[in-house]
């Protein structure tokens, strides 16, 4: 029986590792995800078989297993199917938070019932402390991240000030005191309660001040934490499989976080402790009122597009919010039918999460080959007739290249200003995520088309039809 258990566990670990590995290649990603799901099923099956063969599983246990499975599984499946593609980042944050909650609850169970779960001794208590601490931070942090992305929460003013560091340090110290008390006493409800509350509040305090643009990095980091929490839970219940899988996710999540930071040209430290980008740096060259704005009608935009040979679309979060990807696809279809070359310039952090725009445009049937990464498309802008910027802002701000005083300085951007004509579709003159003025809008070759992306694109489609673009 032991042999079977180890065999199943080894196969499960192998498949999980291959799954995570495969997820980093476009070609193999989908089957890799399915492989990981199979591995997870195998691990659960292996655990059930092992217990059936040794201690047995009581009727009451089966009942509660089925209840938990039914509720969690059904809710998970419904959420996964229903959630719109635009709110992917929030969804990942929500799922991640629940994983952290699960580790937290298991650790609490082990703390209250050490005899049943064989969680006695120093190692067990330390593992419980780690699991509770990391689990609680993961849960509250992920929920705050989700709420911020959904727009349910905004950062209170005092959270932007230095005072938040004092509060967070106090919370961290309180968690540490609770942890030491727990370890010294062996156990205790008082210490446990303090630990749960302090680490939960710490999760909120650390996540709340972080700006929306940096949220993906935070979610990735919290994802890594939930792996650590799972590994700690593995120590609590004595499961090697849990430890391996948790450690794997923890480490891989850390690497992914680093990769994402590199894409945004931000260091992890500045994301975590720097607060919202631009919020504290009013002295920089970023501020100031707009002068010299040229706005134009949809009709003019259509006429310019008709005369173009090469058009590049720059999608941003505004496009996602307006759910305009399908309308955009219709516009580009008629342009393509007229023999105009259309490409999409995808900034690494376009939208609210890396890869977000790719997902949205793929949903609207945009051929994968037309999505060009920043380094590929940037040399092409001087030879481009028209650039259509749809709800993107900071990723096309030339300040990042030209103004060393700008908070954006150094961030890789799309050089759209080098194209002959730039149209920026935007709801109003409000600033982007960073709150920084965009010099692009004042350039002579830039025209603003004000309005909701979906409405503007709909009108544009009508104008193009009237002009007979793409009709044979």
């Amino acid at each position: 029986m032991d042999f079977l258990k180890y065999a199943v566990e080894l196969v499960a670990v192998l498949l999980l590792a291959l799954g995570i590995k495969g997820l980093s290649k476009v070609r193999s990603a989908r089957s890799a995800n399915q492989l990981a799901a199979v591995a997870m099923g195998l691990a659960v099956l292996g655990l059930l078989i092992n217990y059936l063969g040794t201690t047995g599983i009581s009727a009451a246990a089966w009942t509660w297993i089925l209840i938990g499975t039914a509720v969690g599984g059904v809710l998970g499946a419904i959420t996964a199917q229903r959630v719109p593609m635009t709110s992917m980042p929030e969804t990942v944050a929500l799922f991640n938070g629940c994983g952290g909650m699960s580790s937290l609850l298991v650790a609490l169970a082990a703390a209250f019932f050490p005899a049943q779960l064989e969680a006695v001794g120093l190692v067990a208590v330390v593992s419980i402390v780690i699991s509770v601490f990391v689990g609680a931070i993961t849960f509250t942090g992920s929920i705050v991240a989700m709420a911020k992305l959904q727009g349910w929460l905004s950062t209170p003013a005092w959270m932007q000030s230095k005072a938040r560091h004092v509060v967070n340090i106090a919370l961290a110290v309180a968690s540490l005191v609770a942890a030491i008390k727990l370890i010294a006493d062996g156990n205790g409800t008082q210490g446990l309660t303090l630990l749960v509350v302090a680490s939960g509040l710490l999760g909120i305090g650390v996540t709340l001040p972080i700006g929306g643009a940096d949220m993906p990095v935070v979610i990735s980091l919290l994802n890594s934490y939930s792996g650590v929490a799972a590994a700690a839970a593995g120590f609590v219940v004595g499961s090697q499989l849990l430890i391996v899988a948790g450690a794997m996710v923890g480490a891989a999540g850390l690497i992914l976080t680093q990769v994402m930071c590199n894409g945004m040209n931000r260091s992890l430290v500045s994301v975590l402790f720097g607060g919202a980008l631009g919020a504290g740096s009013s002295s920089g060259g970023g501020g100031g009122e707009y002068t010299n704005i040229t706005s134009c009608s949809v009709e003019e935009c259509a006429l310019t597009l008709e005369a173009a040979e090469r058009v590049v679309i720059v999608p941003g979060y505004g496009l996602a919010v307006a759910q305009a990807q399908h309308t955009l696809r219709e516009v580009t279809r008629s342009l393509e039918a007229a023999g105009i070359q259309v490409d999409y310039a995808i900034h690494p952090v376009a939208g609210r999460m890396p890869g977000h725009m790719n997902v949205l445009l793929a949903e609207a049937d945009v051929p994968y080959e037309q999505l060009k990464e920043m380094d590929v498309i940037n040399p092409d802008f001087p030879a481009t007739d028209v650039v259509l910027v749809l709800g993107a802002n900071d990723v096309v701000n030339p300040q990042a290249k030209n103004d060393p005083n700008s908070p954006l300085y150094g961030m890789p951007v799309l050089d759209v200003q080098q194209a002959r004509t730039v149209f920026v579709v935007k709801r109003g003159m409000s600033a982007g995520y960073s709150g920084i003025k965009n010099d692009l809008f004042e350039l002579a070759n830039t025209s603003m088309v004000f309005g909701d992306a979906k409405k503007v694109l709909g009108d544009l489609l009508g104008e193009l039809k009237e002009l007979g673009v793409g009709k044979k």
Binding site: I20, L242, A251, A252
Partner: protein, 101 residues
């Protein structure tokens, strides 16, 4: 407990090293799906929740605590894998259609 603890530490070390090596270069396109997929894997705490339920000795509080934990973990696992699949399905569909043209 001591010898198994050392064994666990080895497992932790090797698992972490494996995780560090698994992801090298990831195209930005895949950042969201990869994060989502890895997140689903972190729901492996289902195993801990199941263990808590099975070893509960029919203690009602422990049964319920384990069951709630299982629910949260499965929400993460099933939701995570399905949503990742939904995202990736959109990518993999494209090349096939192109060939048909």
């Amino acid at each position: 407990m001591d010898s198994s603890f050392v064994e666990f530490l080895w497992v932790l070390l090797l698992g972490s090293l494996l995780g560090l090596e698994l992801i090298g270069k990831v195209p930005p396109t895949l950042h969201t799906p990869l994060m989502s997929g890895a997140n689903a894997v972190s729901g492996i705490t289902v195993l801990a929740a199941l263990t808590a339920i099975i070893r509960s000795g029919d203690n009602p509080v422990l049964l319920i605590l384990g069951s709630v934990s299982l629910g949260f973990a499965l929400f993460n696992v099933i939701g995570g894998f399905l949503v990742t699949d939904r995202m990736l399905a959109m990518f993999s569909r494209k090349p096939a259609r192109k060939e048909n043209r």
